[in-house]
Amino acid sequence: MRRSSRCVSFATVVVLAVSVSACAMLETREAKLQEVKTVGIISAVGDEMSFARTGLTGLNNRSQSFPIGSWGLDDLIVQQATTALNGRFQVRPVSYQRAAFTAIKDSPVAPVNLIRGDPFKKLVQTEVSPQGLDGYIVITKAKANFGGGGRKVEGVGFITYGTLLASSNHIHALYEIRVIDGKTFDVIEKMTAQPLDNTEAVRLPGPSRLVDESFSPSTGDPARNENLHGAITDLIARSLSSTLSDMHLADVR
């Protein structure tokens, strides 16, 4: 009897100790965000646009890229994010090497990404000024699979999905948002922009929509295609506020 009572006491102590440790470790992201008052916004999404074909294609289906820096998408993103975040945070202007952020690519070998950690943490530390803000919002290109095959798409792009009887054109603006702690440079929060409420049979895991042939970059210089420019801008504008809201950074719905 005494032995079983001792066992129960020991088990209770162990359970309590584990629970207290777990509570200490499981500090929520929300709690960390509460401490962030001043933020800087970094955007490196919209320097180029990809043009790809997938589904039933010819043998040469390599994707092409076109510069769209003249659209100023990153400035638009910073401006819109600033508006969305201003209620909760004090947004401070920051300067940074955009090319350094766009040059970062995930390794195709998943364990390498786990071992090396998030590369944007170091970039924020070395390529952004001023330092010392409570947090940095980093908005960069995201990558996703499209269709059932091996096609990957990234950032801003136009993709034609070919089938035996018809083909469809899609535009996308895939990006992800990180909140990086300005003191420890840990990633507090990270989220990929979600799909808009579209109902296409073939969807992307991010903002995208069906478009007609007049949006195609092959019909001229994509940077001068006002339809395309307007549609991409709209995708970003509509998705940015909802993504920031999903991250509990803004309540702008």
Partner: protein, 299 residues
């Protein structure tokens, strides 16, 4: 393309996709359908944020697509049998909303692509191998049981073009048998229209002696008990065949699919008295199923 599978843990960093037996969820299907029938691919309902979050890993917030369904598979009672049986196969998967489901063949093992170049993928693979009980079927009387096991190994997949997949799996048996199994397949994937996809291609399987012998070998004791001649089954080419599958997305929620896989046993698997005298070298599996997908938003 989606079809019932018994276990699947394909995933990427941002995508969690897993299909497994989850019978209780199927009961919830009707209720969920009623709630979200008019919701198209839009969010069916919103769940509150979890009370705590792990310090590492991506946030759960955002939209998730949950898919539930049921299918049926009509396949031989055991490998080499000439009679078949229909069995239900539940379908369940959860993934980030909009995430594309990678093409899967009905014979694929459950796999995770740790190396993913898009057109080239590789990683670990596993497959469950059901037990074979001698008292379950009259043809097996006297042959003894073969326990359930798993086969673990690796896979490679290559897409020369988006509509053609080649795949190889090499697995080591643990449990039911202790041999090596190699599966090779190729599939032409043809989207006829956006909603309707057809795929088809050849299959080939090689098995080592230790993988073949437990199922097709007959020792003296078993021979006496079963009334079959003694047979020393060796490894080698195990089967060759072909498969075709179709899937049709009725709307953003509903998808129906079907597949037929045929294989012809070769070598000592086909020559075994169990197959030659009591079974058949022609093995056909037919599957059909329907699934319903809806989005859930986690704040």
């Amino acid at each position: 393309m989606n079809h019932p599978v018994q276990a699947c843990f394909r995933s990427s960093r941002t995508v969690l996709a897993c299909q497994t037996f989850l019978a209780p969820l199927l009961t919830a299907l009707a209720a969920i359908s009623a709630v979200s029938d008019s919701a198209s691919a839009q969010t069916a309902f919103t769940l509150p944020a979890p009370p705590f979050e792990l310090p590492i890993g991506p946030s759960l917030s955002g939209n998730w697509t949950v898919m539930v369904g049921v299918g049926g598979e009509y396949k031989p009672d055991f490998v080499g049998a000439n009679r078949s049986m229909l069995s239900p196969v539940p379908i369940f998967s959860i993934r980030r909303a909009g995430s594309a489901e990678q093409f899967r063949g009905p014979r694929d093992g459950a796999s995770i692509a740790l190396i993913d170049f898009g057109d080239f993928r590789a990683g670990p693979v596993g497959k469950f191998v059901a037990s074979r009980k001698a008292n379950s079927y009259s043809e097996l009387n006297g042959l003894g049981d073969v326990g359930a096991g798993v086969e673990l190994g690796g896979f490679v997949e290559y897409y020369p073009v988006d509509w053609f997949r080649t795949r190889g799996e090499l697995r080591q048996g643990i449990g039911g048998h202790h041999g090596v199994v190699a599966d090779f397949s190729a599939d032409v994937i043809i989207p006829v229209i956006q909603r309707f996809t057809v795929s088809a291609g050849p299959r080939f399987t090689w098995e080592s002696t230790k993988a073949t012998s437990p199922y097709f070998g007959i020792d003296a004791v078993q021979a006496a008990a079963a009334g079959l001649p003694v047979f020393n089954a060796k490894g080698g080419a195990h089967s060759v065949g072909a498969g075709v599958q179709v899937s049709y997305r009725v709307n953003p929620q509903w998808e129906v699919h079907s597949y037929v896989e045929y294989e012809r046993l070769l070598g000592d698997a086909a020559a075994s008295p169990l197959v030659a005298l009591r079974g058949s070298a022609n093995q056909t599996t037919v599957g059909i199923g329907a699934s319903y997908a809806f989005d859930v938003k986690i704040r």
